[in-house]
């Protein structure tokens, strides 16, 4: 029997070893402390600096630029070392999996639609009080564009620092305007002049269209321009069937896939969307300020503000924030790193979402290739706004697309009918 006991002990030890090895593997992805015994050999860096993991969706080129920003910050810091973990594909799936598996990165990027949703589920660290005691410029909330900062808040508390606010502007192909004998657009154009211009530029035989819509630019922008809202400021209603919203939906519908002014869906699916503009087949394109559409080889491209709607010229701003995971083991150091990193990114990405940095000088310094479009971009920042988001934003967006926009654009109903039918379903999702 002694032997049996011995064998059992061996068996159990081996099992424990397997489990330990498996555990060690996941611990490796999560291990920032550097104290695990298995890694004792041969690390040259000083162990005092806390490793702060940062997850981003940066692609290869962007990750390289970001690394340069991070290297500079790390060199200065005595307390932390930011470790960049770029996840260019399936970002949100991987992020959620890491959070579910308790290996969340300390810092990560979230685009505007997700912050309320993550905050409501307790995944983010509330940084309101820390910010209030911080005097560094990147922590000064009064300097941020309020509409942009709103996207990093949930129930009045701040959960992240926005690092970009990219307003939509209109890029146009000068050669196509010249060919069609149409004067180039100016900043005072409106919906009607925009549509007429697009119509004059369209030449179906040649496969040239005035503009292309496919759900982008967001229809919300046009609803705001008409004086409407998709989610009211108190988050209590979704008045998408208001006369203003209907007017905007109908205007959008008169452009999208309408061969008088824009390519049909099949052409967009086959040839690409922004690619159509780059190939010289679109005269105008609604793009983010940081897009590379004004430096396409062989194209002479001008930029102009988005056309003015019945009430105003609000433009949509694509914005994203860096947030801190509520799982972080070093909340104070992660916060330090967040503020330093945000300052660094504000000197790299355009447009930095701070009023004091929304100047032509700062923009050109961050991105010299944007000099030509800088005036338009700076003007656009004065009238930009982000989405107003709710915790169940992804579901809300799905219904708004599947039950209002998609059927409207594929001519399955009128804007008024569809909006009226969908409104109660959208409002069910409001907090």
């Amino acid at each position: 029997m002694k032997r049996a006991k011995l064998i059992l002990t061996v068996w159990l030890t081996a099992l424990a070893l397997v489990l330990a090895a498996c555990g060690g593997k996941s611990g490796d992805t999560g291990g920032q402390s550097g104290t695990s015994g298995q890694q004792s050999g041969g690390t040259q860096q000083t162990q005092e600096k806390v490793k702060i993991r940062l997850a981003t969706w940066a692609g290869a080129e962007e990750a390289k630029e970001l690394q340069a920003v991070i290297d500079e910050i790390n060199a200065k810091s005595t307390t932390f070392e930011i470790v960049s973990e770029p996840i260019p594909a399936d970002y949100y799936t991987k992020l959620q999996t890491m959070i579910a598996g308790n290996t969340a990165p300390d810092l990560f990027w979230l685009s505007q639609e997700y912050i309320a949703s993550y905050a409501a589920r307790g995944a983010l660290l509330d940084i309101t009080d820390r910010l209030a005691q911080d005097t560094r410029p990147a922590a000064n909330l009064d300097d941020y564009f309020p509409e942009i900062l709103e996207s990093a808040k949930y129930q009045g508390r701040v959960y992240g620092l926005p690092w970009i606010a990219q307003p939509v502007i209109v890029y146009y192909n000068k050669a196509l305007f010249k060919e069609a004998g149409v004067p180039e657009p100016t900043d005072d154009w409106d919906w009607q002049t925009f549509r007429e211009t697009a119509k004059k530029l369209t030449n179906k035989e040649k496969g040239i269209y005035g503009v292309a819509f496919n759900g982008w630019p967001p229809v919300q922008m046009f609803i705001w321009q008409a004086g409407g809202e998709v989610i009211s400021p108190d988050l209590k209603s979704s008045p998408i069937d208001s006369p203003e919203a209907i007017q905007a939906l109908e205007f959008y519908n008169s452009i999208i896939y309408n061969e008088e002014v824009a390519p049909p869906l099949a052409v967009i699916n086959e040839e690409g969307f922004a690619e159509l503009f780059k190939k010289g087949k679109l005269a105008m394109f609604f793009g983010g300020a940081a897009d590379d559409l004004d430096r396409v080889e062989g194209l002479d491209v001008g930029t102009v503000l988005v056309p003015k709607g019945p009430k105003n010229r609000t433009t949509f701003a694509w914005t994203a924030s860096t947030v801190i995971s509520s799982q972080t083991k070093h909340p104070d150091i992660a916060y330090e790193a967040l503020v330093e990193l945000t300052e660094g990114i504000h000197n790299w990405k355009i447009v930095a979402p701070r009023k004091s940095l929304a100047t032509k000088e700062h923009l050109v310094k961050s991105e010299p290739r944007k000099e030509k479009s800088a005036d338009t971009i700076i003007k656009a920042t004065q009238e930009m706004r982000a989405f107003r988001v709710i915790p169940r934003q992804p579901e809300w967006d799905t219904i708004f697309w599947e039950q209002v926009q998609d059927p409207l654009f594929s001519k399955k109903g009128s804007a008024a009918e569809l909006a009226r039918a969908a409104r109660p379903k959208l409002e069910e999702l409001l907090p």
């Binding site: 064998i7 070893l17 890694q39 990750a63 579910a100 993550y118 052409v267 699916n269 992804p394 579901e395």
Partner: protein, 336 residues
């Protein structure tokens, strides 16, 4: 990014080695324990050797299966722990979700149209390849090629061929002109999405199915065919009265695998954009719900629905097959 971080690779490698060493230790220990329990030497070795696979199956397959069954009755957005909701997911699925039934319809119709057509095509190809022609090995390799290509690449290729000015419309343009009609838009036309996917599925004719049927054809006893010829049976009679019954077990296999595969169609519809989600097969819908909407509970519920659907259809086909599948052994037994 491109820097060489030796310590990353070394630590990963050391973990792998550790897992490997522990696994070997575990296998040896299992063997010793089993021997101790008076298990035959051969059996003990067998169990020890399948242990890694068994553990892998339990951890990576059985556990997720069971867990997804549990998740089907919960609301789970990944960020928060699953919340038990009882039959809520199934109620929503069957009675409220406007996208669920269209997706089921598309998936089932696709299976019922594409599988018989595909089988007929595979059989015809197999018959051709069974002939004594020159360089038959070359042809057999050539016709197997499609199943070697990655599915994603094929999907993109087909999308390009079905484009409005793509290969297929270019080939068809004389017919369009003759009939004075507008070119078909294929995947861009909601009504043509299903036919387009069915046509695309013919690609699968060449490949594993053809090979299986070819092997079956080659196994049809020559004596039977020769005896029939002597008795005056023509080629068609021989094919329908002898060849088909003799290969019917293989046809059944190909049919069942085909139905299962068709119901699980995923890669192609994921890569091909269709208007208004008209090409959302059930598996794609599960993926969307789980990984873009983060409704893991609901996605699990649909996945289990799909599992049951496949099971029922498979059982129905098996029952029906008794009427037409011929097993030599069975008939002999009955005659006795």
């Amino acid at each position: 990014m491109a820097e060489w971080h030796a310590e990353w690779y070394l630590s990963t490698l050391s973990h792998w080695l550790l897992v490997g060493a522990a696994m070997i230790g575990l296998m040896l220990a299992t063997y010793a324990v089993l021997r101790r329990l008076k298990v035959r030497r051969e059996a003990a070795a067998g169990y020890a050797l399948i242990l890694p696979w068994l553990l892998g199956f339990l951890i990576w397959n059985a556990y997720p299966f069971a867990y997804s069954l549990y998740l089907a009755f919960t609301e789970y957005d990944v960020l928060q722990p699953p919340k038990w909701v009882g039959l809520e997911n199934f109620k929503y699925m069957f009675f409220e979700d406007p996208r669920f039934w269209p997706s089921v319809k598309l998936t089932v119709l696709y299976a019922f149209i594409s599988v018989p057509l595909g089988m007929a095509g595979a059989l015809a190809t197999a018959v051709l390849l069974a002939q004594d022609v020159k360089a038959v090995g070359f042809w057999r390799t050539l016709y197997y090629l499609p199943s070697v290509l990655p599915a994603a690449a094929t999907a993109l290729l087909w999308r390009w061929m079905f484009a409005s000015k793509g290969l297929i419309n270019t080939l068809l343009s004389p017919i369009y002109r003759l009939l004075d009609m507008e070119p078909l838009m294929w995947f861009a036309d909601e009504r043509l999405v299903l036919p387009s996917f069915v046509i695309m599925s013919f690609w699968g004719i060449f490949g594993a199915n053809t090979v299986i049927l070819l092997a079956a054809l080659k196994n049809v006893p020559k004596e039977l065919l020769e005896a029939a010829t002597v008795d005056g049976a023509g080629p068609w009679t021989r094919f329908f009265k002898i060849t088909l019954p003799m290969i019917s077990p293989s046809l059944l296999y190909v049919m069942i695998m085909g139905i299962i595969g068709a119901l699980q169609n995923f890669t192609a519809p994921l890569f091909i954009t269709t208007p208004s989600g008209a090409g959302t097969f059930l598996n794609v819908y599960i993926y969307q719900q789980g990984f873009t909407q983060y409704k893991m509970g609901y996605a699990s519920a649909i996945a289990w629905f799909l599992m049951v659907l496949i099971l029922i259809l498979t059982l129905l086909v098996l029952r029906w097959s008794e009427a037409w599948v011929y097993y030599e052994v069975e008939v002999r037994q009955k005659r006795r």
